[in-house]
Structures are given as C-alpha cells and as structure tokens.
Symmetry: C2
Subunit: 146 residues, 2 copies
C-alpha cells in the first residue's frame, strides 16, 4: 500500500496544505496592497459570480466547497459592503439569487489581475509538466475524499 511513501514530516505538510495556505495569505496581502478591501473567502464567492451572475446560495456552496451557513454569512458580508444583492427567485421562493452590484462587477478585472499575478509569483520556476502532474494529484485526492 501507499503507507510508506511519506515520512512523518512530509505527511504533516501534505495534510495541512501549507502551500495553499501560503498562496491564500499572499493573495490577501496583494489585495490589500492594491487597496482591494475584500477577504479571500469573499473573493472566492465573487469569482464564481463573475463567471455566472445570479447563482443561488446552494450553487455557491457547491462551487466554493463551503457549507450553507458559511455562504449565508459570506453573502451577508458581501451584501453589507454592497458588492452583491439577494434577489428572491420567482420560480422557487425558497431560493435567493445572488447578483453582483455595479460595484461588484467593476471589481472583477482588478481582482483577477492580482490573482493571476499571485499565481505567477507562486509558480515561479515550476515547469508546465510539473504543474500538470500536481494538478492531477490534487484532483485525485479530492475525488478520493468526495
């Protein structure tokens, strides 16, 4: 089995995902440097709305790998800072459709630029081939635990 592939220390850092933690922190810092006043969690919601405006909260749960209370509160905060609005669905009155405000839409370009730059910083010196394999492994891990 794959039991002996990892020494303890390596196991730990694989589990805790120090690399993704580091990317998240750097992205947050880069947002701040560009005077973008949102958290990376808020960004992860906006990111999906930029691709498809008017998603329901449940759809945002699935897209962001977060549970319903998390999305409720992220949307609360995004609404408070006026980047999104909750619109009650006319087809299904249980649903809220989350739509970007003008201000929310305007943030896309700036944010995506910062995100792309951050990823380039993070991947400096890593080859395309290595990235492909890393992505495959992370996807397999995710699928194994789904």
């Amino acid at each position: 089995m794959s039991n002996n592939q990892f020494k303890k220390g390596e196991l730990y850092s694989f589990i805790t995902g120090k690399a993704s933690t580091a990317i998240g922190r750097r992205l947050q810092k880069n947002f701040k440097q560009d005077n973008i006043e949102i958290t990376i969690e808020q960004w992860s919601v906006l990111y999906h709305l930029w691709k498809e405006d008017g998603m329901s909260q449940q759809e945002l749960c699935d897209a962001t790998f977060r549970d319903k209370p998390s999305i409720t509160r992220l949307v609360d905060n995004l609404e408070r800072i006026k980047l999104v609005k909750r619109n009650a669905s006319k087809e299904d009155r249980r649903k809220n459709l989350i739509v970007l405000t003008t201000e929310g839409k305007e943030l896309e370009e700036k944010c995506m630029q910062v995100a792309n730059n951050t990823l380039n910083e993070a991947l400096h010196g890593v080859t395309n081939g290595q990235i492909e394999i890393a992505k495959e492994v992370l996807q397999m891990v995710y699928d194994n635990l789904k």
Copy 2:
C-alpha cells in the same frame, strides 16, 4: 511566462487548495469517528510536540505556519482540555515551554494511526512518482512565497 498555464477554473482550485481542505475535513471526521475529541488545528500542534516535547510557543509558530496569537489560543484550548501544560522556562523567563501531559502523550498512537489511514484514503491510486512531483511543486510554491 507561466501566465497561460491555467484556465480560470483551474487557477481557482489551485489557489483555494480544495484538496487540502478535503483532507483536513476528512481527518477531522475520522478523528470524531474514533472518538478523538480534538480539532485538526489542535492535532497540528500536538503532532510537533510528539516529535519534540517542550517546544516554545514561538517554535510552534514556525513549525505550524501559524502566528503568535493563533498559537496562544490553541495552547489555551489544549491546556483547558488537559493535553498540554505551559511551563515557564528557567533560562528565559519570557518563554513558555509547552509540555505534553500523560493524557496528551497517550493520544499519539491513536491519532497518528488515523492520520496515516486518512492519507492513504486520500492518495488511493496515486503513484509514488506522482506524489514525489506533487510534493516538489508544493514545496517550490511554499518557498516562492516565503
């Protein structure tokens, strides 16, 4: 540059580290199933104390990639549930040496077994070669952002 290596969707999941999130959640769930009543954050502190008992809080910060307030509170909670104790250092009165209680020591075997099993679940079907490359990439990302 490495700007075109990622399509948007891939970029997102690389940044947010959904694989490591999934591992963390599964580990937490597996702890609970085995009636181990600790959080994965608490586990990450204990993990280092099991390797080297009596570390200072600052050393735990470095080892776990957490800041000082986080460690202060994790140690608070671990102390409250009686798994560790703060011992004032005699050489340097600013320092607390964090030592495992008997109960804290006894938890090691059970926890590490669960952690190993979780990792094996996560890596099912992933080859050693792929894992090596994934580890290299994650390490490079971490070093790039350090």
